[in-house]
């Protein structure tokens, strides 16, 4: 089982993992030859929200090499928090003590413990080379456990709609949150999108019109 890659865009990778970290402490990452999948499927998290994501290898990594007995796939269980911390020190804009030149992520074994090892090569402002390494403990899932990870079946959506600017959506959702526990969402095929609450004391409905309904492949 071998895995080694350079992270071309640690800042983006970091942002993705930070979003995951807020949702769930541990997550599953499946590396395949073409994609990485970040999966949160634990029933424990709030509201039963699950994450099934798929990121193309080219968009984050280069010199990506993977090899395993299981169809060249490796699936690991990892602490999202620790991963985010490691990635944060990789992205050069997060810290000013050195500029990152190269980040390598690889699978390793240290003292019988499987780790995802991050090696950061950088230069300090005075021009000295530094090498920073993070090891994040992982648990490699057995093929049998991987089998159990199944993406839930979702019915074919009735409509697809492009959301309005998210920061505006968020402002409104934040206000509605103060007034009601339950929010209802409606979207139609003619570009209409509604957020509404309905309580004893107040009914509020915010409506966007002329949004785009993208054509999706069946």
């Amino acid at each position: 089982m071998r895995f080694r890659t350079a992270i071309e865009n640690p800042a983006t990778f970091c942002k993705i993992v930070q979003a995951i970290e807020k949702l769930q402490k541990k997550c599953v990452i499946r590396f395949t030859e073409a994609n990485i999948h970040i999966i949160c499927a634990s029933e424990a998290n709030e509201g039963g929200m699950q994450v099934w994501s798929q990121i193309k290898v080219d968009s984050l990594f280069n010199e990506y090499r993977i090899q395993s007995n299981n169809n060249n796939e490796i699936t690991v269980n990892i602490s999202a928090e620790a991963l985010a911390a490691a990635l944060k020190s990789c992205s050069s804009n997060a810290n000013r003590s050195y500029d990152t030149e190269e980040v390598v992520m690889k699978l390793a074994k240290k003292n019988e413990q499987a780790v995802l090892s991050f090696e950061i090569l950088g230069t300090t402002p005075v021009g000295r080379k530094v090498r920073v390494a993070h090891d994040v403990k992982i648990e490699v899932l057995k093929a049998m456990d991987v089998e159990k990870l199944r993406e839930p079946m979702c019915p074919e959506p009735d409509t697809h709609i492009l959301l309005p600017p998210l920061h505006k959506l968020r402002t409104i959702a934040d206000k509605l949150k103060l007034m009601s526990e339950i929010l209802s969402i409606r979207a139609s095929n003619n570009g209409c999108f509604q957020l509404s609450i309905n309580t004893e004391s107040v009914k509020v409905e915010t409506e966007w019109r002329n949004l785009t309904n993208p054509k999706m492949r069946a």
Partner: protein, 378 residues
């Protein structure tokens, strides 16, 4: 006037405004308890909030705050019978919900008005009605004040608040309808024509009899008019652990002499004793603030002697007025012989008034009335 259509109930209230910030800031001034009684009248809205049968906060929102304002009395016959007996519609509403709805796009004006100086803007059209105020300010000749006036003169235009508001481009506009007793208050809110629209229906409740705290202006013990910032700074010094606040007024000894030599502040200050004191009492001690007889600070000071006037109030009640005090320009503090405190805050006026030609413009203000603590009878 809209001609009544047969197929439709004529709404009691129909109002619209292209920028809700002034309306919202007036509502925020009395937002210390959730239930508010809104009285709809020909001239505007009166929003009243009470606490512990002791404190009554009232915001007077005149119709010229809105671009469009239409009021139709619910009882048509009564109106015809007798013109003088004006019937007003009233309902209760959850004030906080109303404010949240108005601010749904986050552009109904800042929630906290911590910045002090920038908020102090003088009303522009003070030529005909505010002439006495003008005098006061002219003979004051206070440095900062003069500067502000100069700056305003240079701007020339008829905008006062717009200058301050122009920082953020986005405005929330709204249309408000109240069909009548038993109907919800309906708001239609939008930020711009291309953006989303929000429809709100806020439940209204039957108005219960309001707390009445009649103030007797004929038997006034103390009357002070001062710039709101002077009072705000004094009150914000007071620690929140204080439970009692006392206003003490001394009749000025040399009032006439002082008025003549108003310019010579230094001499005046050393010569006279404080004419107004604010005393805050807590378990740990007392804080005392003194105002001297200085026309730059106390624009008007009347105190009916003989002897000092002193009344105490619960500090928590006074703090309820802080929000309104912070946004206001000028404060009138009056106490009658029963110790009933009346605090009137003159609120800034936005430059966009449509109806200012008809009937003269009215200043929006917020009034707080508070009963004195019983123990003090002096």
């Amino acid at each position: 006037m809209v001609s009544p259509r047969s197929d439709e109930i004529l709404p009691v209230l129909k109002a619209s405004v292209h920028d809700v910030r002034q309306f919202t800031s007036l509502l925020r001034g009395v937002n210390f308890a959730n239930r508010a009684t809104v009285t709809v009248t020909e001239r505007g809205l009166v929003v009243a909030v009470e606490e512990a049968r002791t404190l009554l906060g009232t915001a007077y929102i005149f119709s010229d705050v809105f671009d469009e304002y239409q009021y139709h009395s619910e009882s048509q016959e009564e109106e015809q019978q007798e013109e003088q007996d004006v019937y007003n519609s009233a309902f209760e509403i959850q004030l906080n919900t109303l404010i949240e709805c108005l601010n749904i796009f986050g552009t109904a004006g800042g929630s906290g008005s911590s910045g002090s100086g920038k908020h102090v803007q003088w009303k522009q059209s003070n030529e005909e009605q505010g002439s006495s105020d003008d005098e006061d300010r002219n003979d004051g000749g206070h440095g900062a004040e003069g500067k502000r006036r100069n700056k305003k003169g240079a701007q020339g235009g008829n905008t006062s608040l717009d200058l301050f508001f122009s920082k953020s481009e986005r405005k929330t506009s709204m249309r408000m309808t109240y069909l009548g007793n038993g109907f919800p208050l309906t708001l239609l809110i939008a930020e711009d024509s291309s953006g989303p629209t929000t429809t709100c229906e806020i439940a209204t409740f039957e108005a219960e009899p309001q707390l009445e705290l009649p103030f007797d202006p004929d038997d006034m013990k103390l009357k002070v008019i001062l710039k709101s910032s002077w009072l705000k700074e004094a009150l914000s010094e007071i620690d929140s652990s204080c439970d009692k606040l006392t206003f003490i007024g001394n009749p000025p000894e040399q009032a006439h002499a002082e008025r003549v030599s108003g310019r010579e502040k230094e001499r005046g200050r050393t010569r006279t004793k404080p004419i107004l004191r604010i005393q805050a009492t807590s378990m740990h001690g007392t804080t005392e603030m003194e105002y001297f007889n200085d026309r730059d600070v106390l624009e008007t000071f009347e105190c009916a002697g003989p002897g000092p006037v002193s009344f105490s109030y619960r500090f928590v009640h006074i703090t309820r007025a802080m929000r309104a005090l912070q946004t206001s320009i000028k404060t009138s503090l009056r106490i009658d012989k029963e110790g009933l405190l009346s605090l009137q805050f003159l609120m800034p006026v936005s430059g966009s008034r449509r109806n200012d030609t008809g009937g003269g413009s009215s200043s929006n203000f917020i009034e707080f009335r508070c009963l004195a603590l019983d123990e003090e009878t002096s």
